[in-house]
Amino acid sequence: MKTNDVILQTTTKVVFFIIFLFSIHIFFAGHYTPGGGFVGGLLTTGALLLLLLAFDLKTVRKALPFNFLIVVALGLLIALLTSAWPMLFNEPFLTHAFGDYDLPFLGESSLHTATLFDLGVYLVVVGAGMTMIQTIGGDT
């Protein structure tokens, strides 16, 4: 039986980007307010899951031709390297650096190396979430 999912597909095309952008917002909000890599990653996975529901595994795989396992590995590598970075300066593992900079366009902003670590977390969450969904969903 072919279901009619025009409404779902059309909405998804818009809503996907809203959720995705919101997840990015949450990701950057994470340092001082609730949010961060983990929640941001979950939201992104949620957006991708919506795509999977509205379309199908094959279409999504074509649109996003990543091997999500590699995304997990990349995320872990980023997290490990950013936390191991201070070891080069004989500082304890996971020590982070931060400072306030005047950036063009963005104005006064504070930059933290912890954000880079969070990027690793974000990638691991997205990668792991998508691998699970694809494995379970594709196993028919």
């Binding site: 590995a73 191991a84 070891m87 304890p92 996971l94």
Partner: protein, 495 residues
Amino acid sequence: MNMTNLLLFPILIPFLFAILLLFFKESVLMQRILVMTGLFFSTVSALYLVFVVKEDGIQTVTLGSWPAPFGITMVSDMLSALLVTTTLIITFFVVLYSFYAIDEGREKNFYYPAILFMITGINGAFTTGDIFNMFVFFEVFLMASYVLSVLGGEKKQLRESIKYMLVNVVSSAVFVITVAYLYSIVGTLNMADISVRIQEVNQPGIISVIAILFLIVFGIKGAIFPLYFWLPSSYAAPPIPVLTLFGALLTKVGVYAITRTYTLFFLQDISFTHMWLMGLSLLTVVVGIIGALAYFDVKQIIIYNIIIAVGVILFGVSLMDGTAMEGSIYYLIHDMLIKAALFLLIGILIYVTGTSNLREMGGLMKQYPALGWTYLIAAFGLAGIPPLSGFIGKFLIVKGAFQAGHWIGAIAILLSSLAVLLSVIRIFIYAFWGEPKPTPERSKTRYNRMMIPAVLLVTLTVLYGVGTEALVPYMSDAADVLLDPSAYVNAVLKE
């Protein structure tokens, strides 16, 4: 050279290489090269760490540059440095063995990364100085061990993995609850700080409850009586190299955790808590012996020997006596090495005969003399025949028990050695003596290559036994820290 983070290297190098391995899923050659490189460098760093701890005393680093009781502190005293080193050495040989004992399907599906992630967790659990962080590292190696346990997807593996996971999920839940209880009383998670504050709170009742809860949690993991029920069947399901890693390393993390908490935290009411530990460890020895003598399956015989060893080590710890504590540490490291060697040899035995049932083996001595003699040496080492490695540990434990006046325990441990000897010699008699039974045709090169890591490990245990004298300073350093918590506390909370 001043290296603040040295004690993290044996944890981080396996982690880094595990991540790198994820990028090369399809290339078996690349996997093998990377896993060996990673283990080699981690072993070197661990040996150097032992050297540094010997020279400069306990090493600590508090992650993220936070001050000590607030951040997560990693602490490497002699005991943890020795355990980390032993873990890496064993893994090195087991991985070498895996090249010939594991099928390509597993090698291409994250077998090696799972091993390295597991080592990350185990070494982390040995090194951490934060009780909640210990829970986290427990989870890390448990996750990886679930992967190893289920990898391959044989029916037996799936059935046993479910059991294994359920038991561990429950014990992890109890672990967190126990940590929460402890935190609600002392208000800190840093183990050195907990040690100080437990002496201050002066509520022996509730602390004893927590001590018993910890004993239950780590007892499930370390397989003490009556919580060992899940172990024999779950360990027997996965292939031999995985069984070797589980048998040699995983239960020892539980043993280490009991040792650490019972020497650092729970010193208020020793006559209650340590009596429980002593009673249970002696019962553990007894049930282990019953199992080891009852089975005709070679895997089960050695698996029950793990349980006996856990009992012996914890008995030594429960005495809280210098001699016995040193003996326990000797025996702990001996047992990790010898169990790994025995499991590898049993694996070869199963490979050449095609069965794990003793009744279907026989007369292998003519065809495989090297295997026979190596096995015999390992078996004598396990039973503790001098000058092999098991002797000194048991000798010191028994001596400590007599000094402390625990005659029954001491005699039980002595008698257990006889039972251990009987159980492993039974394998020798059935498999190597008697009428040859028909064996399947096996590749001689593969047999030889599987022998190399096994023989090397047995050689190592022999050296460990013969070179006991040289190890005395290391062992007594390790025992001193356990018996004198203030050394540990001062190292962590110094500034």
